[in-house]
Symmetry: C2
Subunit: 452 residues, 2 copies
């Protein structure tokens, strides 16, 4: 067989150890926040039935990006999951007799989309979702909003804003502006661009697409309302919207939900500097029905969104007789991982290697002494590599530890072994110790904790 | 759109929370053992180029089971990974300029095989591999053997045996028995059945397949040798084999490697009750070149293998100019998870839920008090669910906690709130406490730790 070039498929990546250690830090931090809010882990197969994905209102643009899979003789049509929300709905309907309501689950796992790869966008990437099934009360939405806030703070982010809006209010706005039913998707698509092209840009684009001037005028007033500042100022902004939208019932419902959301967010301790009402924030996916969220990093700006989410009360109904109220959030973990690096948010404890100690091997005859010392350190819970090529010089072995970023080196040469001693060296400051062999573990711990 | 039945593809499974908590316990325990030996985490894409898999000597039987994948307009032929060893080889060759030798990596991730599903065998399942690239010395093989021993002991297994053999010795045995080159694969396939049909069964099958009586006679003596007991007894058994195989060079090499392996295993503290030389253990995959391992649970017996592995010095050479010596092990984590349950090895700390406390909601007017208490517990690192339907009775809420296995319940009724108190209850023994509201966190910790 011919040798072939080693390469990953287009738009897909390997993760090297230093990269994995950082990813694991972020993922474990988020997991612990999810669990602190009482969310339980689940997992689903990477492969779903094709019909499961195609029955879930992902939208035709999304459906073009789905990966399909098959093995020789396989009778089912399969697809790689596109997100974690459709699998949750399918999962819940399949196992509901074993699950209690409310059902809070989190799921951190890769998904696949055949998009054109570009900087920061991959065809295989992780999603990181937390959802509550079975609660129609807006407290559930406030709780998932609080998870976003808590997770970003825990990771060290300081400048971010959780934008809040409501699908019912957006629908009400469409009705108020006099846009015909069939043009509503176009309207929402344009409003969604406010972030990128500004409100005036959106209004111009509406003109180009033939929206009525009266409609554009009405929207201009409404969409420019800002919901920032104190809780009272936000509630006042909502009151202004309520006045404008008058008797459009669905809009009033959306406004009441937003009021409840802001009040509960305050109870949950979400700092109002980190949230804002944004009536131009729409969110793409078809299945949202109530409050929606999107979080952006505000400094430096233009880094895009690190979180999306909202309420989708109808999706589970595609897989069972009756639907169930559901709300949740998805953290853009790949972007968060990139931003942690850019903003220098990793703590010092996140190293380039998991290894804490390298036990060198002086020569063939003394190697067993080194192997025994390594096992002793491992049993004490210290992450230890034993150098396995005793014919390499000590200098070379220490150079290896240094280049890998291993903090401490242990040396067992003939003098040390003869006198029942062991030599240790911390590479960062070249601090050396010689201690009785029986105190090896204690000495390593001291060096690692900078207590020696 | 029509409603569709919610189901997973054939041979694939969801993992519910109670199941995930157990899986995470096993995976985290193994991870911590891998890291204690200085192995670093990596990850690779689920999808590989089809040519990567087909160029890796998986064998034609395995190749039939590969899943292929494609998205609309995708130009590459892709396949879901079949194991973690081929991806490692491809990974190493692709990134070698960023990696140091020796390279120790672990990888815990799902793989896909289109096999006929049966009890305990799935089409999507996790593998759990640790390998060392770049060390030809047998100490590397002894270290990965020690990982198996340490991981199984740490998980609580007491009755298991790590069987050891050597591919070079097997080749030597084939030569000694006078089997022509082209019949060697048949010979190894038959010997591999010793576990299931016994040595006499194997010899009968050889007769049926037309092997020479002289060959069968020679093999009968050799394969029935046992390498158990003390290190000295094992070395003596190897000496017997050495005498029989005389001047077959490759057999002598295999024997020397086995001697070194047994001696180093002893230095690393592997209890000899948990290992045995087994000259009938062959291992299926085509790429092994030196020592091979396989671990079986011995009590109850017939539970099959929980680990496979060995040295494969040629595989990486399929992706780069020169190959590199490589050895490693793969833990059969799905079977281990099943056995943990069967043998009752999960510690008491592994619950059916991650949630430690349910904060009940007395009624609408007091719900905010409950939400604030929940946030306080979360900030203190206690995994806390807030009940979000205040209209449900307290009895119903406590019943929910009980049915989910949540150990502690917090109650903030009008009397408690008026007097700045909080009521707590541990459900396992109905132990109740009423403490000042400011001592909530401390009281919960006492109840969880059975200190109150």
């Amino acid at each position: 067989m011919a040798k072939i070039t080693a390469r990953t498929p287009k738009g897909m990546r390997d993760h090297l150890p230093a990269d994995m250690i950082k990813r694991n830090y972020v993922i474990n931090t988020i997991k612990s926040v999810f669990e602190s809010f009482g969310f339980e882990p689940i997992d689903t197969p990477v492969l779903e039935l094709k019909q499961t994905l195609l029955n879930s209102e992902l939208g035709s643009e999304a459906e073009k990006l789905i990966y399909y899979a098959q093995h020789a003789g396989g009778k089912e049509e399969l697809a790689l999951r596109y997100d974690l929300t459709v699998p949750l709905s399918r999962f819940f309907a399949e196992h509901e007799h074993q699950l209690k309501l409310p059902f809070r689950r989190y799921h951190i796992a890769p998904v696949w989309r055949g998009e054109r790869p570009q900087k920061g966008r991959y065809r295989e990437f992780y999603q990181c979702d937390a959802d509550i099934v079975g609660i129609k009360e807006i407290t559930a939405d406030a709780e998932v909003m609080s998870i976003v806030y808590t997770a970003l703070r825990r990771l060290g982010f300081t400048d971010f804003s959780i934008k809040v809006n409501n699908r019912k209010l957006i629908t009400g706005i469409g009705i108020y502006a006099g846009v015909p039913q069939e043009k509503l998707p176009d309207l929402y698509r344009l409003i969604d661009k406010t972030d990128k092209i500004g409100l005036n840009g959106v209004l111009d684009a509406m003109r180009e697409e033939g929206f009525q001037e009266e409609t554009i005028h009405r929207l201009a007033d409404l969409l420019s309302l800002k919901g920032q500042g104190t809780l009272q100022q936000r509630l006042a902004a909502l009151e202004d919207v309520r006045q404008i939208l008058g008797d459009i019932a669905i809009a009033q419902e959306g406004i009441e939900e937003l009021e409840a959301l802001l009040q509960t967010a305050d109870v949950l301790g979400i700092d109002s500097d980190h949230t804002e009402l944004d009536f131009t924030m729409v969110r793409g996916l078809g299945y949202y029905t109530g409050p929606i969220f999107e979080t952006v990093i505000t400094k430096p700006d233009n880094l895009g969104s690190v979180q999306g989410g909202g309420r989708y009360d109808e999706l589970i109904g595609r897989f069972r007789r009756q639907s169930l109220p559901t709300t949740g959030i998805s953290l853009g973990i790949e972007r968060i991982i990139d931003l942690m690096e850019m903003l220098n948010l990793y703590p010092e404890s996140v190293h380039t290697t998991v290894v804490q100690v390298l036990v060198t091997a002086f020569d063939d005859t003394l190697q067993n002494e080194s192997l025994r010392a390594a096992m002793e350190l491992r049993h004490a819970g210290i992450r230890t590599e034993a150098y396995l090529e005793p014919r390499k010089s000590l200098g070379k072995q220490i150079g290896y530890a240094d280049s890998k970023g291993i903090p401490v080196v242990v040396i067992l040469g003939p003098d040390e072994v003869a006198q029942n001693l062991v030599q240790l060296k911390r590479l960062s400051d070249s601090h050396e110790m010689i201690v009785p062999r029986s105190e090896l573990v204690k000495a390593v711990e001291q060096l690692l904790n900078n207590e020696a």
